[in-house]
């Protein structure tokens, strides 16, 4: 009897504690959400204010200067032209993301499906090179680009995307778990050529993995600062990260329009934010899947 009463009481006690813990957890999570969102919120808010209003003080309410700031930022040609930089970034990021995902899938398919002498070596080689930072090859890269007369062109930022070790690794994992050999053999029996099998049968089956990797490749190319800054010196070839670094000097100058600068930052990141909101479900899943991806 006594024991029973005690368990009931401790159960009630535990329940109360659990509710308190749950409330605390939700409050904490809401604070964390605000922390993650606050830079973006401040940025959007400030991009709606005029220079004079921003200089006067922080206003937590949105202002009416959004379109004017947009026009100023869009038409400013002083140090660079923003629409041109956005186009440069887009061309490079879109091309790299297509090349990265297609050729990584192709390489992973080649190593998984076929049996050849250097198969194991090729796999181990890619695993070893996976963690080499691209920056350590920069000296040779800059000189190579110069010798190939590719300075101030898109090529040195697009072509290397064909060889992406970490994307290869992700594709290899995915193929192992979701592309049965029987499917490929059946295609061969039906008389399908090897490239045809890869393009029309394997690729559609790898769609989820390719979609995730395309997003990641696009974003990392869009955000890349180091390599473009080394090979693009002409301002009409600049990509958005270079533009943002230049803004740092711009705001030091006299009578700089701060509202315009906030707008330029916003325009640099907003495409990625929109893509993310549209596809976030796949992206968050992809992060966990590619747990090995640095």
């Amino acid at each position: 009897m006594a024991i029973k009463e005690q368990t009931i009481r401790s159960n009630e006690n535990a329940k109360g504690k659990l509710t308190a813990a749950r409330v605390a957890a939700y409050i904490f999570l809401i604070l964390v959400t605000l922390l993650a969102l606050f830079p973006l919120i401040l940025l959007i808010l400030n991009s709606t204010h005029s220079n004079s209003s921003l200089q006067a003080g922080f206003d937590p309410m949105p202002g009416g200067h959004f379109l004017i700031n947009f026009k100023t930022a869009w038409n400013d040609t002083a140090l660079f032209t923003l629409p041109r930089s956005m186009l440069n970034s887009f061309i490079i990021a879109a091309s790299s993301c297509i090349l990265t995902s297609y050729f990584s899938a192709m390489t992973a398919y080649g190593i998984h499906v076929y049996d050849f002498k250097l198969k194991k070596f090729a796999f181990n080689f890619i695993m070893v090179i996976m963690t080499i930072p691209t920056q350590v090859a920069a000296v040779g890269f800059v000189q190579l680009v110069g010798k190939l007369h590719m300075t101030n062109t898109y090529w040195p930022l697009i072509i290397p995307a064909i060889a992406a070790p970490s994307v290869f690794f992700y594709m290899k994992q995915y193929i192992e778990s979701s592309l049965p050999m029987e499917v490929i053999e059946a295609a061969r029996v039906d008389g399908s050529g090897e490239f045809m099998t890869f393009n029309t049968i394997a690729l559609p089956m790898l769609k989820p993995a390719i979609a995730v990797q395309m997003i990641f490749a696009f974003v990392s190319s869009w955000n890349n600062f180091f390599t473009p800054a080394l090979v693009l010196s002409k301002s009409e070839m600049w990509t958005l990260p270079i533009v943002n670094a230049t803004l740092r000097q711009k705001i030091q100058s006299q009578n700089c329009d701060i509202g315009e600068v906030y707008m330029m930052i916003l325009l640099s990141i907003i495409p990625v934010v929109i893509v993310y909101i549209a596809l976030s479900k796949h992206i968050v899943k992809g992060v966990a899947l590619g747990a090995v991806k640095g």
Partner: protein, 314 residues
């Protein structure tokens, strides 16, 4: 498995992997090897003249580790800067992400709206680091909202970017904001890979949440924590975008935010000193290589289970 059938297709294997290897060799491997090669040459621009390339043996390496007239060795200073800023962001991040991961995976709390929270906390990771840095530079500037707040509450204007600790702190904070969502998701995958029956057994035995966390979660999470920490360190050593925008190529204030890669970038960009840049690249390559070996070791002791584990989670 049906080897006779696969062997006849061998050439296709080479054809399929050829583009990757050709591009890798031309755009990564040859540049990497020529970087190593250049590290043994004297080759830089002096005004309009180009000096070298002349073979100098290990002289660039010696110069790299020789104290300047103030008795300080630049490469050590910049290495320490990098590590300090990494630690300031990564240590709080690991604790914070662990706490979040435990909350999300708790069987008792059963948090609702998980995908919403995860989506939001991961978002900063995709935002352009250069833009993030530029934004924070404006927010903390002398006329930015934080200073306006200080003034309106009766304080005096504080120049955050004149003080090395506040500047480093802001850089670390940006890195923290950008990466804690990513770390949380990785740790969650790790926690969900732990055998659930262990938690059940513990709760039947009357273990408190703290005991479960300390005696089960932490020890079993150790391999993935080591993995997360070291990959974060490898990433930290490559820190460039944020300090380059905030501190400019000078590493302001007073070179206190100059990182290893910024140092490399200065040799490449302004002085075009390919010899010194090469030697510095080799040093960074060796440090990263050692850390990578440790990563592979911890993954190996994890008996290659990780990808499977991760797939179960989230």
């Amino acid at each position: 498995m049906k080897k006779h059938k696969l062997v006849s297709y061998a050439k296709w294997g080479y054809i399929f992997i050829a583009p990757f290897f050709i591009v890798y060799i031309i755009f990564q491997l040859i540049p990497l090897l020529s970087t190593f090669y250049y590290s043994f040459f004297e080759n830089y621009r002096s005004g309009l003249n180009v000096v070298g390339p002349n073979f100098v043996g290990f002289e660039n390496y010696v110069t790299l580790f020789t104290p300047d007239k103030n008795g300080s060795i630049d490469i050590f200073t910049y290495f320490i800067n990098t590590i300090i800023m990494w630690l300031m962001g990564a240590v709080p991040q690991l604790f914070f992400s662990l706490l979040l991961a435990v909350i999300f995976t708790s069987e008792r709390l059963r948090i609702k709206g998980q995908s919403f929270f995860k989506t939001v906390i991961y978002m900063p990771n995709l935002i352009m680091a250069a833009a993030f840095a530029m934004l924070f530079f404006m927010l903390f500037s002398k006329v930015g909202p934080f200073n306006q707040f200080i003034i309106s509450s009766g304080g005096e204007t504080f120049d955050f970017f004149a003080n090395k600790w506040t500047t480093r702190g802001i850089i670390a904070m940006i890195n923290f904001l950008m990466w804690f969502g990513n770390t949380t998701i990785l740790l969650m995958a790790g926690i969900m890979g732990i055998d659930q029956s262990l938690f059940e057994a513990a709760s039947i035995d009357g273990a408190t949440s703290w005991q479960v966390f300390y005696k089960i979660t932490i020890p079993l999470l150790k391999p993935i924590m080591v993995y997360v920490a070291i990959t974060s360190l490898i990433g930290g050593l490559q820190m460039f975008d944020v300090p380059q925008v905030i501190g400019t190529y000078l590493g302001s204030p007073n070179r206190s935010t100059m990182t290893m890669i910024m140092y490399l970038n200065n040799y490449l960009g302004t002085s075009k000193n390919y010899g010194m840049a090469g030697a510095l690249s080799v040093v960074i390559f060796i440090i990263t290589g050692i850390l990578s070996v440790i990563v592979y070791r911890t993954m190996a002791t994890d008996s290659g289970k990780k990808p499977k584990k991760a797939k179960k989670g989230v």
